[in-house]
């Protein structure tokens, strides 16, 4: 077992419900505890609105907990955001540099990777054109090609394993899976149980903002299925 990189203890995160002077707060995360160790690939499962994305942004350090505590070893931690900082009137090349900088890369690192970004995105000469002229699919190909270059100590992924048409989905999915198998520490949020089963060693199950169970994937999936499809005869 690797050292503990990030540890959450009874973490709660609240948002203001409305922009009113007397606006109440709602707790997107109520009480979540987890440990992330170096080299571990942790999957997060749970129904819609369970707080999975909020949890990921809390681990990323974007959201600060309103209660509970979070301990973090001095590691870089990046949420994989597609098309972060994209500006419509700039070329694909300029947007790649901009988005790469936003995702934490140094400028010379992005410059060195521009040829491979261009190649992976399959944009050809469009790479030099303003992205305002791109189709939605082209935009996602560029966005993914930039995002896959980012190499933080802890990679946080929210459902963006594969994008684009069927062919590019296969290619991007394969690139992402190989990134995850390279021994990086990863936290992956997904609705798709198969994805999590294929890529993660450990799984945490979140329900109504609370961590229900954190264990190896077989144990968690068994409990999760029992909860979703209770045996006939029980209510």
């Amino acid at each position: 077992m690797g050292e503990v990189l990030i540890e959450l203890e009874h973490v709660g995160v609240a948002f203001s419900a409305q922009r009113r002077l007397s606006g109440g707060r709602f707790w997107a995360l109520e009480d979540v505890s987890l440990q992330l160790r170096r080299g571990e690939r942790l999957g997060v499962i749970g129904r819609n609105g369970a707080g999975k994305s909020t949890l990921l942004r809390t681990i990323a350090g974007i959201l600060a907990p309103d209660r509970g505590s979070i301990r973090r070893a001095p590691v870089s931690c990046q949420l994989l955001s597609l098309a972060l900082g994209f500006v419509p009137h700039l070329s694909g090349r300029d947007n790649a540099v901009l988005s790469g900088l936003m995702l934490g890369l140094r400028r010379r690192e992005i410059m060195a990777r521009l040829p491979s970004i261009r190649e992976f995105s399959e944009l050809g000469d469009f790479f030099e054109q303003p992205i305002a002229s791109y189709s939605a699919g082209m935009m996602m190909r560029l966005a993914f090609s930039v995002a896959i270059q980012v190499e933080p100590d802890v990679l946080l992924i929210d459902e963006v394993l594969a994008v684009g048409d069927a062919e590019f989905q296969q290619k991007s999915g394969a690139a992402m899976r190989s990134r995850m198998r390279e021994g990086h520490t990863v936290v992956l949020v997904s609705h798709n149980e198969d994805t999590i089963a294929a890529l993660c060693d450990r799984v945490i199950w979140i329900e109504h903002g609370r961590s229900v169970l954190e264990a190896d994937r077989e144990t968690v999936f068994a409990a999760y299925h029992r909860d979703m499809h209770p045996p006939v005869g029980t209510t």
Binding site: V13, A14, F15, S16, Q18, R19, R57, A60, G61, I62, L63, A64, C77, L79, S81, L84, G85, V87, P88, H89, L90, D94, V97, L98, L101, M102, L103, G104, R106, R107, P130
Partner: protein, 253 residues
């Protein structure tokens, strides 16, 4: 980490300027044409129609408006920058002050274009270059610090109270008229004059006009006081932003 942020701010500034130039047919030309049109409007009203100007009015007005537009755009664009980038703030962990800085730097680049045009006009109008020009970088530094100080404070608060935006524009218009931008403060009754001379913007305006029109070195003591006040405002703004940084990602935009 720090070097990465410098690269991010500089490249984002370049990207913002480039995108802005690409958004309209005339592109870069608007950076100069828009302020020129505004100056024309003020000249028409205050000199041609109201005849309230005086012999040196044209250079007086142009210098005042050029500097004021720079300050104002830094304060408003910088001031709204965190609020208008809340979408990004929710997705990535960056110091929030990055956003006002990018806005202020790109406004500064645009100001330099307008200022170059201003110099040409002044030379043609009989106000040649002089050795007091060497004081311009220090004057610009003081103006930028002042605008940044005000902009940071506004930037810290607008995400929490977006309603402030409707007030700020009006307040800035009043401040412009009270700061000797379009008419000289010696036109105001004497008791008020003394109060208004304490206004940091009036000090900056005087210094700029002294250099560009009369070849006079600025009042260094006055300029230092303005710089000190501005640094204090920058510090207050940056501190408040740091205090509120954890709240921004949780706000609705």
């Amino acid at each position: 980490m720090r070097q990465h942020l410098i690269e991010l701010v500089l490249f984002s500034t370049y990207a913002e300027l480039r995108a802005e130039a690409a958004r309209s047919y005339l592109g870069l030309v608007w950076w100069v044409l828009e302020p020129a049109m505004m100056m024309g409007a003020f000249y028409l009203v205050f000199d041609v129609i109201l005849k309230s100007g005086g012999p040196d009015y044209l250079p007086f007005l142009l210098i005042g408006l050029t500097l004021w537009q720079w300050m104002k755009s830094c304060i408003t664009h910088g001031g709204y920058a965190i609020w208008s980038n809340l979408g990004m703030v929710r997705q990535v962990r960056l110091p929030p002050l990055v956003f006002p800085l990018i806005a202020m730097l790109s406004d500064t680049v645009k100001f330099l274009f307008v200022f170059a045009l201003l110099l040409v006009i002044l030379w043609c109008a009989g106000y040649p270059p002089n050795q007091a020009y060497f004081a311009l970088p220090l004057l610009f530094a003081a103006v930028f610090l002042f605008a940044a100080g005000a902009g940071f404070v506004v930037a810290a608060l607008v995400p929490l109270v977006p309603d402030m935006r409707f007030v700020i524009e009006q307040v800035l218009t009043v401040v412009m008229f009270l700061s000797g931008v379009v008419f000289a403060l010696d036109k105001v009754p004497p008791p008020l004059q003394q109060v208004m001379a304490l206004n940091p913007i009036a000090v900056l305006m005087d210094a700029a006009r002294g250099i560009l029109m009369h070849g006079m070195w600025p009042n260094w003591i006055g300029l230092s006081k303005v710089a000190a006040i501005s640094l204090l405002a920058c510090w207050i703004g940056a501190t408040v932003v740091a205090q509120l940084a954890s709240r921004y990602p949780k706000l609705a935009s």
